[in-house]
């Protein structure tokens, strides 16, 4: 009978997986699949694409297990893999888009130049409600702005690291992040107005 792996510590499961034990790897997948899927979904906003990319990430993870040295936690390492896959996919999407739309989004639209009307657009919101609104607002951002926001706010990456991953300059990262935040502020404020009406 297959021994129960659910009681094993992450480090043990990783070590066994590195030796080729697929049952241990399956346990790691079961533990972190939601997190990996959530990261892919945050970036792609498409359930099917997120599902495929999260599964591809696990396959890549298995193939590169020997490279995992334990410098970071296993889930951080896996998250980096799924982010890279999402970024590759977003680059494919970008190639399919017209240059004019891309340039317009890069400019930052009207939000960038708007004065600050409400410095606290999330005031008085409960956590569940806030999460839901953030999710809805994120869905309305462009791929580039959503990506930079996810990498900075959720993954807590520095500008330099985001620029490296997105293959752009630090200036572009700063500009995209600025626009994304201002747009989020506008969207969250408008969602609050919608709900109060």
């Amino acid at each position: 009978m297959e021994p129960d792996k659910s009681a094993l510590a992450e480090a043990d499961l990783v070590r066994k997986s590195q030796k080729g034990d697929m049952a241990s790897f399956e346990e790691l997948v079961a533990r972190y699949r939601d997190k990996i899927y959530a990261r892919a979904y945050s970036m792609m906003r498409n359930e099917e694409e997120a599902l495929d990319l999260s599964q591809d990430a696990w396959v890549k993870g298995w193939q590169r297990l020997a490279q995992f040295q334990g410098d970071s936690s296993f889930i951080t390492w896996m998250t980096r893999i799924v982010i890279n896959l999402c970024l590759d996919q977003l680059r494919k999407h970008k190639r399919q888009r017209s240059e004019s739309i891309e340039a317009m989004e890069e400019e930052g639209g009207v939000e960038r130049q708007m004065p600050v009307v409400n410095p606290n657009p999330t005031a008085g919101l409960e956590r569940v409600e806030l999460r839901e609104r953030i999710d809805r607002a994120l869905a309305q951002l462009s791929l580039q702005h959503r990506t930079v926001l996810v990498l900075h706010e959720f993954e807590e990456l520095e500008y330099k690291e985001i620029a490296k991953r997105m293959k752009c300059s630090i200036g572009t990262v700063m500009s995209r992040l600025f626009y994304a935040r201002r747009r989020m502020a506008t969207l969250l404020a408008s969602l609050r107005r919608e709900n109060s009406e």
């Binding site: 080729g20 399956e26 997948v29 939601d34 997190k35 396959v59 298995w62 657009p121 989020m184």
Partner: protein, 175 residues
């Protein structure tokens, strides 16, 4: 406010400025109402998003989700590890090709030991025609049977036998 300054306010907020510049920027933001309002808005979004990601929920069950990953790993051959297989399974992986090679070596040794085979027989079938070739090396003779197996040929005397010596092109007999 100039866009460069807006970005600097943001960088200050994110802790991306060098210490000295960050101190100067902090002082300026505290004095300037516009910069202060912008910093408050950006900070609010930053704070709101921090650890407030919607938890993703997969629609697929554990087994189904894993089965697709497992299939892909096997298809792409993975890291090629066999450590998880039991010892007898690993041994069998090596023994099967070894046994085949040993059997072939035995046949070749027997052939060398007993001398080359004295005859070969080759049969080939085409549409409407069947051919059997018999070659006897010791008799230096090759016999070819040709049979017309097409429809309507059954009643006719369609069998032909050609026998010739191993001199190329020397036909000895024809029926």
């Amino acid at each position: 406010m100039k866009h460069d300054l807006e970005l600097k306010v943001q960088a200050w907020l994110d802790g991306e400025l060098p210490e000295r510049e960050a101190r100067r920027m902090g002082e300026w933001v505290a004095r300037d109402a516009e910069a202060s309002a912008l910093a408050a808005e950006l900070g609010c979004i930053r704070q709101a998003m921090f650890r407030n990601e919607t938890a993703g929920a997969l629609g697929e069950g554990r087994e189904f989700y894993w089965s697709k990953i497992e299939r892909q790993i096997q298809r792409e051959a993975g890291p090629g590890r066999t450590d998880d297989l039991p010892w007898y399974a690993r041994l069998r992986q090596y023994m099967a090709p070894l046994a085949g090679a040993a059997a072939l070596a035995c046949v070749l040794l027997m052939a060398v030991w007993q001398g080359a085979p004295t005859f070969d027989e080759i049969s080939s079938t085409g549409e409407g025609m069947e051919a059997v070739t018999f070659h006897d090396q010791s008799a230096q003779m090759t016999v070819v049977w040709l049979q017309d197996s097409s429809a309507g040929a059954e009643d006719q005397s369609a069998k032909k036998t050609i026998r010739y010596e191993d001199e190329p092109g020397t036909v000895i007999d024809l029926e």
